[in-house]
């Protein structure tokens, strides 16, 4: 707080007289009414801060707190068990299996979806390609649809007994016996492929927006210099869009770690936990209706462990991102 010492002359009434001349070079100069303006700013901030504390900060703290209790959610948490929940999570093979699957979803999104989307974006960014807006529209369409609903549509499409895709494969003679896309061995790649299909459009639009920031004359200059397509991509396009690419990477990472909707709708983490991810793992212990007593403490511990590891993984990319945002907010 730098400028709270003076209250505007005139007490409660607002200063209406225009300042004769406002030196533009010193924006931090104390002016009457500053306190009052800040007061309003805090009023405007209040709803967000209140919700932020209640629904973002407190839940984070409470997750840690609850994870030290054996708690079924009835009444307050009283049965302190120390680190027992954490020990159980960390030694649970099923948790690490779910963790590995969550991580794989991310890996596929970053290593398969992002580069593919960039290539398609470069193609669709070309002014000479007719109908590129329609292509973009169609590729984007899955993004706006409800994941849980399309997951079920896909479960039906992939059904071994008469589902559309098996019928198609059989009628074209590609396979003799129905493919069980959602069996224990193939369910995970199937769900991952659908996850890529679902998220592809958003990454595509991110990349297209990034490509829009490349000035047209840079392309022209590189053309004049005799650069071919890949050279232009390597030396002009990629360097210009790289800063935005970092943001896209983090957005993709964040989105892809949460395949709960798709997994729960398509396979309910099955068969035999083959498609289990951390979110479905936590859900099972906390909210599964078939469970006699929920294990909130244990589920929180699993969430905390997952959160910490994810944060560490995000932090590895953190410095890059911070530089981006500082640049943006200046």
């Amino acid at each position: 707080m730098t400028s709270t010492s003076t209250v505007g002359p005139g007490g409660t009434t607002e200063q209406v007289a225009p300042p004769p001349q406002r030196p533009p070079a010193t924006p931090r100069r104390r002016r009457p009414g500053t306190l009052r303006r800040h007061a309003w700013q805090y009023v405007f901030l209040a709803p967000m801060l209140l919700l932020f504390v209640a629904f973002t900060l407190w839940p984070m703290v409470a997750s840690w707190w609850y994870s030290f209790f054996d708690w079924d959610g009835v009444g307050p948490a009283t049965e302190w068990v120390g680190f027992a929940n954490f020990t159980e999570v960390l030694t649970s093979g099923r948790f690490w299996h779910a963790f590995r699957n969550s991580f794989l979803f991310s890996l596929v999104a970053i290593c398969v979806e992002m580069p593919l989307a960039l290539l398609v974006a470069i193609l669709l960014n070309s002014r000479r390609l007719r109908g590129r807006n329609l292509y973009r529209l169609l590729l984007f369409l899955p993004v706006v649809t409800t994941t849980a609903v399309v997951g079920i549509v896909f479960a039906v499409l992939l059904d071994p007994a008469g589902g559309f895709i098996n019928e198609l494969l059989r009628s074209t003679g590609l396979v003799d016996s129905p493919v069980t896309f959602l069996s224990e061995s193939s369910a995970l790649p199937t769900v991952m492929a659908i996850d890529v299909w679902k998220g592809f459009g958003i990454t595509l639009v991110y990349w297209l927006a990034a490509l829009q920031t490349v000035p047209e004359d840079l392309y022209e200059a590189s053309k004049v210099d005799g650069a071919n397509g890949p050279q232009t991509l390597r030396h002009v396009t990629i360097p210009v869009i790289a800063p935005i690419g970092v943001v896209i990477l983090l957005l993709t990472f964040q989105r892809s770690m949460n395949p709960f909707d798709l997994v729960q709708a398509m396979t309910q983490a099955g068969p035999n936990y083959a498609t289990d991810v951390v979110a479905t793992y936590i859900y099972r212990y906390a909210f599964n209706p078939e469970l006699n007593a929920p294990r909130y403490g244990f589920a929180c511990a699993a969430g905390v462990v997952f959160g910490v590891i994810t944060l560490v993984m995000t932090a590895l990319q953190g410095p890059l991102l911070r530089r981006q945002y500082l640049k943006g907010s200046r």
Binding site: L139, I248, A299, G303, G307
Partner: protein, 272 residues
């Protein structure tokens, strides 16, 4: 020029296959139970029927789920808009002490995984006594900081000319008045983007509505309703397709009408 045309040979089949699940969904929704059962690859139904829709709408309660989803989505969007616009304005204009700390905190919380905090949020809403209506699910959705909308509003308001604010203040306009009468109407592009994105997110939400309606089937949203419908009637493909059509057509229609706002919004967001 000619090389560009060759790409259509790749793009047209790709895009058709890409959206085929939706084509299949709509086509199956109009097919008779017999035709669905017999299979077949035809896109057009042999005999058109609305039986699937009546079954989904009445028997499977998708009429109720639809109105639940509309209420849930609209309320969520209203809260998110109000909270993020006011806070974005407060953070974006005038050098607020502590601004950097708040923005830093917001950005830091952006990367918290989904399942991480649902239990405390659930208990909080429960403790507030709101767990017996859709409002609980709305709060759990709209409550956690919506960092991107806040940053969008912040960036937009920060970019407005100072002269505008000075002129308004000279005319004696108060801070809220400047915000609601001048700044907010000028922020229509951001409002549109934020409303659209959050409406879609709310419409498509699954995890939170699922958790908050576990014991209350009459409050289910479309996604949750679809999930339980599939759990009970996994072989009623016609009914499932009709239910999926009811769930997805509104949001697809909104997207098609507003896609320009949408794409421009994303482009503007990434560029700024």
């Amino acid at each position: 020029m000619r090389r560009m045309h060759l790409w259509h040979l790749l793009l047209i089949p790709l895009c058709l296959a890409w959206i085929y699940p939706f084509v299949w969904m709509i086509s199956t929704a109009f097919k008779s139970e017999r035709e669905v059962f017999l299979g077949g690859l035809s896109v057009l139904p042999k005999e058109w029927t609305l039986d699937n829709f009546t079954r989904a709408w009445d028997t499977a309660h998708f009429g109720t789920y639809l109105s639940n989803t509309v209420v849930f989505s609209v309320t969520t969007v209203a809260i998110v808009l109000l909270v993020s616009a006011t806070s974005g304005y407060a953070l974006g204009r005038g050098s607020l002490p502590g601004r950097k700390v708040i923005v830093g905190l917001l950005i830091a919380t952006m990367f918290i995984p989904h399942g991480y905090t649902i239990i405390p949020i659930f208990k909080l809403v429960d403790g507030l006594g709101l767990n017996n209506g859709l409002l609980g699910a709305v709060l759990a959705t709209a409550g956690p900081a919506h960092v991107v909308p806040i940053l969008l509003f912040m960036g937009y308001f920060a970019g407005m000319p100072q002269e505008l604010e000075d002129a308004a203040r000279m005319d004696g306009a108060s801070y809220p008045r400047i915000f609601f009468r001048i700044m907010l109407p000028l922020a229509k592009p951001v409002i549109g983007t934020v409303a659209l994105f959050n409406f879609m997110a709310a419409w498509n939400a699954f995890f939170i509505p699922l958790v908050f309606t576990l014991g209350r089937p009459e409050l289910r949203t479309l996604g949750v309703g679809m999930y339980s419908f599939f759990g009970q009637e996994a072989t009623d493909w016609g009914g499932l397709a009709a239910a999926a059509t009811i769930s997805l057509l509104p949001i697809i229609a909104i997207f098609l009408f507003l896609q320009r706002t949408f794409v421009e919004g994303i482009a503007g967001a990434v560029k700024s």
